[in-house]
C-alpha cells in the first residue's frame, strides 16, 4: 500500500469515527422529531449531561474493579430521567397550548437552561474524562485502525437496526408512528399518547447517553457547552439523511463525518489552496443545502407532498 492510500483509508476511518458519533446523536433527534415534530435543541445538551455523569462515575466504577464503560448505566438512567423531565415539565405544556414555533423556542430555552445549569454546578471550565476503552488498534501493515472507532461504528449499526425493528414491528413502535401522525386518531386506537411520547423521549435520551459514551471515548473532555455544536452537526446529519427516518440518521451522520474528514484532508490540494480545511464546516452546510434543494426531504426521507 502506498502512503497515499493508507492516508486515504485512515481519513475514511477518522470520518467514520466522528460520523458514527453524529449518527448516534442524530438517531435521538430523529426519534423525537419523528414523533412530535420538534427539533429538540436540548438533545445535544443531554449528551453533555451524559458526559458529566460519565466523568463523575467512572473513577468510582474503576475503583470498584469494573470496566469503565459500565458507567453507561448511570449515564443512561440520568439522561432518561432528564429527558422525561424536560418533556413533562416544558415540552408537554407548550405542545398543548402553543404552536411549533413556541415549541422550538422552548427547546432552545431548555438547551440554555441545561447549559447554564451545568455551568452553575460544574463551572465553565473543561474537565477531562478518564479513558473509557482500552481497545487495541487493528493494524494492517502501516495502516492502523483504532479499536474504539470500529466499536462506535458497529454499535451505531446495531442500534440503528434495533430501532428500526422496534419501530416497525413492536406494538410500542407502531404506537409511536401513529402518534407521530395523528394524535387524535391515535387516542381513538387506544394508544396512550403521553406515555408514548415519554417513551420516545426516554429512548432518545438513552441514545444520547450511549452517544456521550462513544463521544467521550474519542474526545475525552466535558464542558457545559460541549453539546451545542455537536448537537447542531448531528441535527444537520439527521436532516440530511431525512429527518424521521432511522436509517437516514445513520447515513446522514456517517456522510457528514466523511465529508468533514475528507474535506479537511483534501480540499486544500484539490482547490490549490484557495479553499482550505478551515472551510470544512461551510462545506458540510453547503452539502446539506444542495441535498435539501435537490431532495427536500433528505436522502432517505419520504416525500410528504401535501395532497391538494
Amino acid at each position: 500500500m502506498t502512503d497515499q492510500i493508507i492516508m486515504f483509508i485512515s481519513q475514511l476511518f477518522s470520518g467514520l469515527k466522528i460520523g458514527s458519533v453524529y449518527a448516534l446523536v442524530a438517531l435521538g433527534y430523529t426519534m423525537v422529531y419523528g414523533i412530535i415534530r420538534l427539533i429538540n435543541f436540548a438533545h445535544g445538551d443531554f449528551i453533555m449531561v451524559g458526559a458529566y455523569v460519565l466523568m463523575l462515575t467512572i473513577p468510582a466504577i474503576v475503583a470498584a474493579g469494573l470496566p469503565a464503560w459500565v458507567a453507561i448505566v448511570p449515564a443512561v438512567l440520568v439522561c432518561v430521567a432528564v429527558g422525561i423531565i424536560v418533556e413533562k415539565a416544558a415540552y408537554k405544556p407548550v405542545r398543548e397550548k402553543g404552536n411549533s414555533m413556541t415549541a422550538l423556542i422552548t427547546a432552545i430555552a431548555m438547551s440554555l437552561l441545561l447549559e447554564n445549569g451545568a455551568q452553575a454546578i460544574f463551572g465553565a471550565d473543561f474537565q477531562t474524562v478518564p479513558t473509557i476503552f482500552h481497545l487495541p488498534s487493528i493494524a494492517f501493515g502501516k495502516l492502523k485502525l483504532p479499536g474504539d472507532t470500529l466499536l462506535t461504528i458497529v454499535l451505531g449499526l446495531i442500534i440503528m437496526i434495533g430501532l428500526q425493528l422496534f419501530v416497525k414491528f413492536t406494538k410500542q413502535g407502531k404506537a409511536m408512528r401513529a402518534v407521530s401522525e395523528d394524535k387524535e386518531a391515535a387516542v381513538l386506537m387506544g394508544i396512550n399518547v403521553n406515555s408514548t411520547i415519554a417513551l420516545t423521549f426516554a429512548i432518545g435520551s438513552g441514545l444520547a447517553a450511549v452517544a456521550s459514551l462513544m463521544y467521550c471515548a474519542a474526545y475525552p473532555q466535558v464542558s457545559p457547552m460541549m453539546g451545542a455544536m455537536l448537537g447542531l452537526k448531528a441535527f444537520v446529519a439527521a436532516v440530511l439523511g431525512g429527518i424521521g427516518s432511522i436509517p437516514g440518521a445513520m447515513i446522514g451522520g456517517i456522510a457528514i463525518g466523511l465529508v468533514e474528514s475528507l474535506t479537511k484532508a483534501y480540499i486544500g490540494t484539490i482547490t490549490g489552496g484557495v479553499i482550505t480545511s478551515a472551510f470544512s464546516d461551510a462545506i458540510v452546510f453547503a452539502i446539506l443545502i444542495v441535498v435539501l434543494l435537490v431532495k427536500p426531504s433528505g436522502i432517505m426521507g419520504k416525500n410528504e407532498g401535501e395532497k391538494v
Binding site: 463551572g123 477531562t128 479513558t131 473532555q221 457547552m225 474528514s261 484532508a265
Partner: protein
C-alpha cells in the same frame, strides 16, 4: 446639534475618586467557551484586591472590585464596559479577557478616557496606544519567541503550523510563528487550519503534517483543545516530533497516556518553579490559601494587573483623575509575578517569555527568553 446622540462624546472627564473607596472595574468572560480564563483572572483580581485591602488599600482608601461578565461577546462587553465607564467612581478597568472582546472595548477606553488593562488579550491588533494597556506580551512577540526557541534550543529545520481561523488569537500567533520561522531560516513545510479554534477532530490535518516530514508542530490553541485533542491525535497519527504552543496551553488538559505529552513546549508568562522571581512563591502560597488550588498563568496575570493599577493610582496621587492614572500607566515599569517589564508606547509590555516543557504531564521550567 446632535452631539448628545453621538456615541463619541466623552462627557466624563472624571473628577478625583471621591469618598473613601476606589473602585476598580473588571470586564471578563465568565460564561461561554472562554469562561475558564475569565474565572481565573477574576480569582487573580480578587486575591490582589484582598491583599491590598488587608494592607490598608491604595492611598489609604479601600479598593472595591466591580466585576462584570461579557459572555465572550463584543456587544455585551461594550455594554458592560459602558456601565463601568459611566460610573465616575471607577478609576480603572481590568480586562477584558479575550482579544475579541478587548477589540470592542479598546475604542471605548479611549473615548471615555478610562485606563483599561487587559491581563491576557494577546492579539496584536487591539493596540490603540492610548488608554488600552495589557499585562501580557503580544502574539507576534510570543510567536517569534517560540520560533527562536525552536531554531536555537530545539534546533529543528522543518516546522509545521496548525491554527484555527475563527479565532484571532490562534491565527494571530500561528501566522506570527510562521513568519518568524521563515526569517530564522527554518522551513515551514505545512500550514494547516481548522474551521474554528474549538473543533474536536484534527487528525486529517495532522496526518498531512505528519506526511510533510515536519520535526516540530506549532499549534496555537487553547488548553482545552490542545490537551485532549490535538496532541493525542497527533501522536495517534504517528507524529513523534516536538509540539509547541502559546500561553493558551497553560493548564493543559491531559488525557490518556501521559507519555504522549512528552516533547511538548509552550511559551507563557510565569512559571511556578521560576526561582529567579521571589514574588512567585508568595503569590502561589496566598492563592492556595484563598482558593485551595494552584494558580495558573491567567490568575497570575490578573493578579499583576491589579497591582499595576495600584502602582499607577499611587503614583497619580490622592486626587487622581482617570487621565492621571492613564499617564501613570503609560511607560511604567513594573515587577510582578509574571516578570519585570516596561510599558511600550503602544501599551504593551516588553517582557520576558518563559518556556515550559511538559515532563510526565507536568509543566517544568525550561528557560526564560529575555526581550531583545
Amino acid at each position: 446639534g446632535c452631539s448628545g446622540g453621538s456615541m463619541d462624546d466623552s462627557s466624563s472627564s472624571s473628577s478625583a475618586a471621591s469618598g473613601d473607596t476606589i473602585t476598580i472595574g473588571s470586564v471578563t468572560t465568565n460564561s461561554g467557551t472562554a469562561a475558564a480564563y475569565g474565572e481565573a483572572e477574576v480569582k487573580g483580581f480578587e486575591l490582589a484586591v484582598s491583599e491590598i485591602n488587608a494592607k490598608g488599600g491604595i492611598n489609604g482608601k479601600k479598593v472595591k472590585l466591580e466585576s462584570l461578565d461579557d459572555k465572550g461577546d463584543a456587544t455585551e462587553a461594550s455594554n458592560a464596559y459602558n456601565k463601568l465607564a459611566a460610573d465616575n467612581s471607577v478609576l480603572a478597568v481590568a480586562g477584558p479577557t479575550i482579544s475579541a472582546t478587548t477589540a470592542a472595548v479598546a475604542p471605548l477606553a479611549d473615548q471615555t478616557k478610562l485606563v483599561t488593562i487587559a491581563p491576557a488579550a494577546t492579539a496584536d491588533s487591539i493596540e490603540t496606544g492610548n488608554y488600552l494597556f495589557r499585562t501580557c506580551f503580544k502574539d507576534s512577540y510570543q510567536g517569534e519567541v517560540a520560533a527562536r526557541f525552536a531554531a536555537e534550543n530545539l534546533k529543528v529545520k522543518k516546522v509545521a503550523v496548525l491554527y484555527g481561523t475563527g479565532d484571532p488569537y490562534s491565527s494571530g500567533v500561528g501566522e506570527a510563528f510562521a513568519k518568524a520561522a521563515e526569517k530564522l531560516g527554518m522551513q515551514v513545510v505545512d500550514k494547516e487550519s481548522s474551521s474554528s479554534a474549538d473543533d474536536t477532530e484534527y487528525s486529517a490535518q495532522l496526518q498531512k503534517i505528519q506526511a510533510s516530514g515536519a520535526e516540530l508542530l506549532y499549534a496555537p490553541y487553547y488548553y482545552s483543545v490542545a490537551g485532549p485533542y490535538i496532541i493525542p491525535q497527533a501522536r495517534s497519527v504517528g507524529f513523534e516530533g516536538y509540539v509547541m504552543g502559546p500561553d493558551g496551553y497553560d493548564g493543559l488538559k491531559l488525557t490518556g497516556d501521559k507519555s504522549q505529552y512528552d516533547k511538548t513546549f509552550y511559551t507563557t508568562h510565569y512559571s511556578a518553579d521560576d526561582t529567579s522571581n521571589t514574588k512567585v512563591q508568595d503569590f502561589i502560597k496566598s492563592y492556595k490559601a484563598k482558593n485551595n488550588a494552584d494558580p495558573n498563568t491567567f490568575a497570575a496575570l490578573g493578579y499583576d494587573t491589579i497591582y499595576m493599577i495600584k502602582q499607577a493610582i499611587e503614583k497619580a496621587g490622592k486626587s487622581a483623575t482617570r487621565e492621571d492614572v492613564r499617564n501613570a500607566v503609560a511607560g511604567m515599569s513594573f515587577e510582578g509575578v509574571t516578570g519585570k517589564f516596561t510599558m511600550d508606547k503602544s501599551g504593551s509590555p516588553t517582557k520576558s517569555v518563559i518556556v515550559l516543557e511538559l515532563k510526565d504531564g507536568k509543566p517544568v521550567y525550561n528557560t526564560t527568553v529575555q526581550p531583545k
